[in-house]
Amino acid sequence: MNSVSQALQLMGIGLPVMFIVILLFIGAAVVLKKIFPYDSNEEKE
C-alpha cells in the first residue's frame, strides 16, 4: 500500500473515530452534570 492510500485510510478511520470519541465526551459531560447538579452553596463551602 502506498503512502497516499495509507493517508486516505488514516483519514477515513481517524476522523470518524475522533468525532465518535468527542461525542462520547459530550454525552459524558451532559450525564455527569445531570448526576452531579451544580449547587450554588458549593462555592461558599
Binding site: V4, V17, M18, F19, I22, L24, F25, L32, K33
Partner: protein
C-alpha cells in the same frame, strides 16, 4: 606550534555559510520572541539552542554535549512533552467547556487540518510516518507535535517543532483572513447567549478528566501518555488538598521543562539537517494544516447552523484549534470588532479548551492507526 594554531583557529576554519544562516535563524526566533512577544518562552530558548548547535565543533552538541544528553534524557523518551502536558492540564479550566459541552464538537472539527495535511504530504511524496508527523503540526499543540515526531520521524523533530510553535504564535495573523473568507458579516455578528449562573459542580470537574482518561485510554491505549498526563494535571487543579502540586505544575514544572524543551529542540537544529527543501516543505505544510483546521471548525459551525434554532457564531468553530488560549482570544476580539456588544469570550474559550482535548485525541488516533500500519506500538 602548527597544531596549537590549528586548534585555536578551528572555530573559524570550520565555519560554513549554512552555520551563519542558522545563526540568523536563531537570532530571528529570539527577536520574534523578545521584541514581538511571539511564544517568547519557547522561541527564545529554541533560537539560542540553534545558535549553540551551529558553532563549529560546538561542545554543546555531539556525543557528550549537554544538549545531546538532554535530547536523550527528555525528548527521545518523550519525558519533556509528557511533563508539559501535566503543566498544561493544570492551567486548563474545563468549566467553560463543561458549561457548554456542545462546544466540544468544534474541538474535533478543527483537527481536520491534521488529516488533510497528512493526505497532502503523502501526495507530495512523504512516506506515511513523515506525513503523519507533519500533519500533527495541525494539532496546534507543541507537546503533541514533539511526541508524535519523536515516534515517527525523529530526524524532522527540529523543523516540525519550529513550525508548530511559529504558527501557534502566528494564530492572530493566520486565522482572521480565513474566517473572513468563509463567513459573511451577518454570520460573524451572531450573538450566542451565555448563562453565567449555570455553574459546574466540583464533582463534575473531578469526574470528567477521570472519565476522559479511562475512555480515551481504552479506545486508544497509545494515547494514554498524552491524555492521561493532561488530565492528571487538570485533576491537580480541581482537587482540594493538592493546591501546592497544582501551583508547582503551573509554574515551576512548566517553566523548567519549557526552558529545557526549548533549548534542546534548538540544539537539534544543526545546519545540515535543517537547511534543506524538506524544512521549507514542512513549514509550508504546517501553514496548510492551520488553514484547514480553521476552515474545518468554521464550516462545521455553518453546517450545524442549517439545523440549529439558536445559531452558533461560526467564528467560534475556528477556536476549536488547540492554540490555547490565543485562538479563543482572537475570536472574541473579532466578534467585538464586528459588533461592539457581542461578547463571545466564554464560548470561544470553551471551544478552545475542547481543541486541547481534540488535538490529543487526534494525536492518539494517529499514533494508533499509523503505529499499526508501521508495526510500532
Amino acid at each position: 606550534m602548527e597544531a596549537i594554531i590549528q586548534d585555536l583557529t578551528i572555530g573559524f576554519t570550520g565555519l560554513t555559510w549554512k552555520m551563519i544562516v542558522m545563526w540568523l535563524i536563531g537570532l530571528t526566533l529570539m527577536y520574534l520572541a523578545v521584541v514581538k512577544d511571539y511564544e517568547p518562552l519557547l522561541l527564545m530558548p529554541i533560537g539560542f539552542g540553534a545558535i549553540l548547535a551551529n558553532i563549529p565543533f560546538s561542545s554543546a552538541v555531539g556525543e557528550a554535549g549537554p544538549l545531546t544528553t538532554l535530547l536523550h534524557a527528555g525528548i527521545s523518551n518523550e519525558m519533556f512533552p509528557v511533563l508539559i502536558f501535566v503543566a498544561v492540564g493544570a492551567m486548563c479550566d474545563f468549566t467553560p467547556l463543561l458549561k457548554m459541552p456542545f462546544m466540544m464538537i468544534f474541538g474535533a472539527a478543527a483537527q481536520f487540518g491534521i488529516f488533510a495535511t497528512i493526505v497532502i504530504a503523502a501526495l507530495i511524496g512523504f512516506p506515511i510516518n513523515e506525513a503523519a508527523a507533519i500533519g500533527i503540526i495541525g494539532a496546534a499543540d507543541g507537546p503533541t507535535t514533539i511526541y508524535i515526531a519523536n515516534k515517527f520521524a525523529q530526524d524532522l523533530l527540529a523543523p516540525l517543532s519550529v513550525a508548530a510553535y511559529s504558527y501557534m504564535a502566528l494564530v492572530p495573523i493566520i486565522q482572521p483572513p480565513i474566517i473572513k473568507l468563509l463567513t459573511t458579516k451577518k454570520e460573524r455578528m451572531i450573538r450566542m447567549p451565555y448563562t453565567a449562573d449555570s455553574g459546574v459542580s466540583k464533582k463534575v470537574l473531578i469526574a470528567f478528566p477521570i472519565f476522559v482518561t479511562l475512555a480515551a485510554g481504552v479506545i486508544a491505549p497509545s494515547s494514554v501518555a498524552l491524555i492521561g498526563f493532561l488530565m492528571f494535571g487538570n485533576l491537580l487543579r480541581v482537587c482540594s488538598g493538592v493546591e501546592k502540586l497544582s501551583t508547582a505544575a503551573q509554574n515551576e514544572l512548566s517553566n523548567l521543562v519549557t526552558l529545557l524543551l526549548g533549548i534542546t529542540i534548538g540544539g537539534t537544529m544543526a545546519a545540515e539537517g535543517f537547511l534543506n527543501l524538506k524544512t521549507l516543505m514542512i513549514m509550508g505544510l504546517g501553514l496548510v494544516a492551520f488553514i484547514f483546521d480553521t476552515a474545518g471548525g468554521v464550516l462545521l459551525a455553518k453546517f450545524l447552523n442549517l439545523f440549529l434554532k439558536e445559531k452558533v457564531n461560526p467564528m467560534v468553530g475556528a477556536a476549536g484549534i488547540s492554540a490555547f488560549p490565543m485562538s479563543g482570544r482572537v475570536i472574541a476580539k473579532m466578534a467585538l470588532k464586528e459588533d461592539k456588544g457581542n461578547y463571545l469570550i466564554m464560548q470561544a474559550i470553551g471551544a478552545n479548551v475542547s481543541g486541547q482535548i481534540g488535538s490529543i485525541i487526534a494525536g492518539g488516533v494517529v499514533l494508533a492507526v499509523v503505529g499499526s500500519m508501521l508495526g510500532i506500538r
